[in-house]
Subunit: 200 residues, 2 copies
């Protein structure tokens, strides 16, 4: 890991870490909800299952790994991940697919909003259920080639996102250290291995 | 894919697929719930976040990939995955860590309950957050060497689980077909690649 990159990551982690938290009993509009079902199977069994909803939808997401050709680096975001032991996570840009959007459209939009970068060519890496026992969220992971900074970040309220460019090897280092620890980014990192030309 | 294996998978999928479902408004005890928090970050920002709970806990899980030395096969389970497009999923045995259990103890217990197999040596493959934005679930993935059938399945109420032995190549085929589609199993499959001696 280059020294200046390690320092910057440390600064961001320090900036975004949790110093306290409390239960919020006054939240008016809840993001999470759930529905209880009874499913009848072809063999006659009837089984109860519950599904989690995010903002009243299945919460299918995209993950986009933006590659910057000139410096042979990937772009990752650093943001509060308050439920993890570190409180902060490094991950590829990601977000929920909005109604009427295709996964690729969502990937382009999220990349632009979270980082101000745009990508010329987007390759589908994989699709997978995030947590198939309790959710219908079906995520799509992409590799974005030739990504370039074009505009400023445009974040939602309550989103705090820093970003940084790192080589693939540096990303694997962060994964080993447990700073990259989410399933979405880890699976995307594993898939990128098949694109060897970008890993040097 | 061997013919008899493809046939068996097809039979199980046919047996376990959904034929109808309804919303269950009478469910007394709910498995899913959520808590709303306000987090104060080191930079002074205050951000709301919601956490999903499974049976009132974070729902950290284990995934265990049991390898059978004699036949050079892995053991996978087939069960209803009612929120997926197929309605049925093939995955490595998995389950929630119970209170007071270590991840390895949970892995051994789940393997035994779901399949009646026991394993001699268990290797840690990876640990990861399942859905870090809304959950503290931190999952652990294991490779179990020298797995052997020792007893009968011992399933919870509402669990319906079939199992089958397949080679690594056959598992990759199922992954390509989208029949293996959950993040937990996909990430575990990717990690097993580092154990080349089992992939032939």
């Amino acid at each position: 890991m280059r020294n200046e990159k390690a320092k910057l990551i440390e600064e961001y982690i320090n900036e975004l870490k949790t110093i306290k938290y409390e239960i919020n009993n006054n939240s008016k509009k809840r993001f999470l909800s759930s529905v209880s079902y009874l499913y009848t199977l072809n063999n006659g069994s009837i089984i109860p299952r519950e599904k989690v909803l995010k903002n009243n939808s299945d919460g299918s997401a995209i993950i986009i790994a933006p590659y910057i050709k000139e410096t042979k680096e990937f772009l990752v975001v650093i943001e509060p991940r308050v439920f993890t032991s570190l409180g902060v996570g490094v991950s590829f840009p990601a977000g929920y697919i909005e109604e009427g959007e295709t996964p690729i459209e969502a990937a382009k939009r999220e990349l632009k909003e979270e980082t101000g970068y745009e990508a010329k060519k987007i390759i589908h890496l994989d699709s997978f259920y995030q947590d198939e026992g309790i959710s219908a969220a079906y995520n799509h992971s992409f590799l974005a080639l030739d990504s370039e900074k074009k505009s400023e970040q445009k974040l939602d309220e309550n989103e705090i996102i820093r970003y940084i460019t790192l080589t693939y090897e540096e990303l694997l280092e962060l994964e080993k250290q447990g700073i990259i620890s989410g399933a979405n980014t880890k699976l995307t990192l594993a898939r990128i291995k098949d694109y060897k030309e970008y890993l040097k």
